[in-house]
């Protein structure tokens, strides 16, 4: 039954109330950090800004996917179904940026 099925893939741990709230807290903190960074012109001008912002974005992305979307706790199949396409999407995006950055000389 659907109950059995629900059990079949929830014989893993569930994040608890507390854990969900921690995730929410971290998401808020990191976002606040990002926005704060945006308003520091010295930091924005430095070469560290973009990498820092991107890392923060990736962390937020990862914790939502792993905890809220349960990917850390669920059957491996879902991990494959998501990370494969995500990898291809990310590579394509990066390829585009480089391809269009090319300007022929002269």
């Amino acid at each position: 039954m659907s109950n059995d099925r629900a059990h079949a893939d929830s014989t893993h741990e569930h994040p608890s109330w507390k854990q969900y709230k921690w995730v929410a807290l971290w998401l808020t903190l990191i976002t606040a950090l990002e926005v704060w960074a945006y308003y520091m012109p010295a930091f924005v001008a430095s070469p560290m800004y973009k990498p820092a912002i991107l890392v923060m974005m990736v962390i937020k992305f990862a914790i939502v996917v792993m905890f809220y979307m349960h990917l850390k706790y669920d059957n491996k199949i879902f991990r494959v179904l998501f990370t494969g396409p995500l990898f291809i999407a990310a590579c394509t995006l990066i390829a585009y940026v480089f391809l269009f950055a090319y300007r022929p000389v002269g």
Binding site: S2, R5, L27, M57, Y68, P85, L93
Partner: protein
């Protein structure tokens, strides 16, 4: 997917699941389908975001996202993106994901100790999620209309074209999510949602979180990087 929520939705997950359906993995078909769908959406949003990034800085005329611009006619345009307002809407959307998680937990654990009252009310949390989503849409609507007033439409320049398309697609996804949530809320009010319905709430939740995650990417790449 929404499609296969079918019988579970209307018939209260009773009729259609009288008999056991054999599955190779013991997972629900719909959950596999929604993850495949989410994978597919990664490519859609990657294409939209790539387009935005590729066209960044190539607009021939303003207004521009992060810098001021004086038109040939002498009109002054300030940088058009409003970071404080968008930070607020981002926060709202992030919170909506929390509410969604709590809604699912309430449905899965209905009746169990620790889930009484508001904390365990799936109706409350579903409503909260939908309202947060609607608030986000409100912010988007405000942003779009104020941009138009300030002289940026989808036709004005490359920035307008790629920005409105990208955020418009995202907003449409949010809107579909809000309608989905309202439908679940409606069912909850009519016949109640219990552990047997966890799967259909889970599917909606996965969609909702994904829409949130896409916004995380958009907020960083569009608003925070100059």
């Amino acid at each position: 997917m929404i499609v296969a929520n079918a019988a579970a939705v209307a018939s209260g997950a009773h009729e259609a699941h009288e008999h056991t359906h054999y599955t190779t993995t013991s997972l629900d078909n719909r959950k596999i389908a929604i993850w495949a769908f989410i994978g597919s959406e990664c490519m859609l949003f990657a294409s939209l975001i790539s387009t935005y990034l590729v066209y960044k800085g190539r607009s021939v005329v303003g207004p521009f996202p992060h810098e001021a611009w004086t038109s040939p006619a002498g009109q002054l345009f300030k940088p058009i993106l409003n970071i404080p307002v968008t930070s607020a809407s981002t926060f709202v959307l992030l919170m909506s994901s929390l509410f969604m998680v709590l809604a699912l937990a309430a449905v899965e654990n209905k009746g169990k100790p620790g889930y009484e009252g508001l904390q365990g009310s799936s109706k409350f949390w579903l409503l909260a999620t939908a309202l947060a989503g609607a608030t986000f849409l409100g912010f988007q609507a405000y942003e779009f209309t104020s941009f138009v007033h300030e002289g940026l439409t989808i036709r004005t320049n490359l920035f307008g074209t790629s920005f409105f398309t990208l955020t418009g697609f995202h907003g449409t996804h949010v809107a579909v999510g809000v309608l989905w949530l309202m439908t679940l809320l409606f069912i909850d009010i009519r016949r109640g949602l219990g552990p047997a319905d966890a799967i259909i709430v889970d599917i909606c939740a996965l969609y909702w979180h994904f829409v949130d995650v896409v916004w995380i990417a958009i907020f960083t790449l569009v608003y925070l990087i100059k």
